[in-house]
Subunit: 339 residues, 2 copies
DNA sequence: CGGGGGTACTTAATCGTTTAAGCGATACCG
DNA sequence: CGGTATCGCTTAAACGATTAAGTACCCCCG
């Protein structure tokens, strides 16, 4: 049987109320009594019953973690975010509860009750996300939600401007004169921001920008056809005009997508790191151990998770939704590798 | 203000008790009253308060999901398992709560209270896992825990014997005469079982087995050196004895490790899919889109998660730990691709 | 000496739910 | 007709914690 306030009270011949006040540091008990109670509680291994507390305080102590199911299907990033959230909440009185994503129907009525929410990647096609933001549960989103959604209580964002500068700076430093941006068709704000950053970067330098658009649903063959239009041809060099305009650097958005690109480039007879320089927009162990290792932007997914946890913990103390939302920017340094 | 039993009771001029019995399908109310109550509840959008229920029933409705942090650092597999668990619990009254892993110190005292546990990958170096199994919380493990740990309530396992047969059968069908097993140093039962299966498979066919041992902490250079001892040399063919004994097929354990191996083989001048056939022990989108696509064993991580959820849900109804533990085996078919 | 005021507690109510026990009313049986 | 079983409901207690309100006691001051 678990140790309750009442048990401690009985043992010390006190009332449960006195014990509660002692343990929670509230005034109303003498210092000696408080010491005594604290010692006894420790000794008996008292752990407050969450359910009793919850019921009384109208507070679940749970934080929902929500992401569209599409994120999960293709993500190393996701695992790290989750780990960060878990770690960040570990020394609070909150616990992360995974919520099923409800992309299609937006039916979030039956979600377990939580005090707060962390929404990872609020995609504009995710009806469930809109529904969750419409509610008045304190919510932190990792990356800003689309403008048409209700404002969350807090937003955590990577330093997109800095990231673009670093990534393309890296490509330039490796000798790329005409770097292109390769985006994966997406419904998140991140890619759009990176694209804006890229266009600005090109404008500053008088470079003609090239945005190559692909999709995760493309086959490698399709990706190859798209790439062939933009990159130098290894088979028939000769067309001087074309050679001059060909792109010699790629910044690849999308978790793990740079691996596919590396493979496709190889199959095109292009040498990754020589003919074409490559930077992945999302880092992972796989980039590190690829042959050759692929330079990546470290999005710090773990830090993302930790910060989200800390932010929601902080925001829960607020009486109402802050306006404007609480903002935090996480730096995203580049990890330079062979490519 | 949320709708409570009392509100419904007042509106209908009944007692809260009657409403409770009506809603929970307990005897003690007339069918007409029950209908009336159910209609009203639906109308008012009644949702039972989890905390009140929990307190009364001594049941949190939460299922802890635990994995060693090492799994998270390198895992696509993980994302899928999580998704499966979430989906599997979605239509129960349980919700998955992520637990922080406590590898080092095994300090699990402060974990939020849960009704049940799902432990993903019970590694023998994970003190937290031992601690959790020592407790009397109903627990399902994905893969069997080490023999030195307490028995869990349920175990979900892949069909390891079948998997080995399929994988090496596939290698043979692609022309591999002398397939080797490449294992990543690990502390899980899975690799050990695969190794046993491989040895048996070799024995049946009179093939000399070769188990190549690597580690995730190895650099690609180290991995390469290890591989060079076992595989044919592309640079200096000639030693007939060595050529005969060289391995021409690899079954690679470890999530994503086959990608590294493919890269290292390439750097050795060996053609993946021709000189050396490759099968990955764990599938992922990345294997599918690799150039060339890598054949993989589909461990069905999503199904793993779903089944774990269903099993824990079922086991919670039992009065005590079943002996022997509840077992379930998930088939792991091979997905044949170019290699 | 009486009253005001602080201290250190206790009592009791509350959160929302479930469930054992109680209690009229009706029905049935001997 | 008296006894008793059954139905359909109400009352009340309980889960564990928190907190407003109440109370006993001591101290100090006028």
């Amino acid at each position: 049987m678990a140790v309750t306030l009442k048990k401690i009270a009985e043992q010390l011949d006190l009332s449960a109320a006195a014990v509660s006040m002692a343990i929670n540091g509230k005034p109303g008990v003498s210092e000696e009594t408080r010491d005594l109670v604290l010692r006894t509680a420790e000794e008996l291994g008292y752990k407050p019953n969450r359910m009793g507390q919850s019921l009384r305080l109208a507070r679940t102590g749970a934080i929902g973690v929500y992401f569209p199911s599409t994120v999960l299907e293709y993500s190393l990033y996701f695992a790290e975010v989750t780990r960060g959230i878990t770690a960040g909440l570990a020394d609070t009185d909150l616990s992360p509860v995974l919520l099923p994503s409800a992309l299609e129907n937006g039916d979030v009525r039956d979600f377990p009750s939580v005090d707060g929410l962390i929404i990872v990647e609020p995609h504009s096609d995710d009806l469930g996300m809109f529904e969750l933001l419409r509610g008045d549960t304190p919510t932190v989103t990792l990356d800003p939600p689309p403008p048409s959604a209700e404002r969350p209580w807090g937003i955590i964002e990577s330093d997109n401007a800095g990231l673009v500068r670093e990534a393309f700076g890296h490509l330039a430093s490796r000798g790329s004169r005409l770097p292109a941006l390769l985006t994966v068709e997406t419904v998140s704000d991140w890619t759009a921001q990176v694209e804006r950053g890229y266009l600005a970067w090109c404008a500053e330098r008088g470079i003609e920008p090239a945005v190559i658009r692909t999709s995760v649903t493309h086959s490698n063959e399709e990706v190859r056809q798209i790439l062939e239009r933009a990159l130098p041809s290894a088979r028939q060099p000769g067309d001087a005009q074309r050679e001059r305009e060909a792109r010699d650097g790629l910044f690849v958005c999308g978790d793990g997508f740079a691996l596919r690109i590396a493979g496709v480039l190889r199959s095109m007879g292009l040498s990754v790191g020589e003919d074409v320089h490559l930077v992945s927009g999302v880092d992972s162990t796989i980039m590190q151990y690829h042959t050759p290792p692929i330079s990546s932007v470290d999005m710090n997914p773990y830090a993302y998770g930790v910060r989200a946890a800390q932010m929601i913990h902080r925001l829960l103390k607020l009486p109402e939704r802050p306006s404007p939302p609480s903002y935090e920017v996480i730096p995203a340094p580049i990890i330079a590798r062979a490519t």
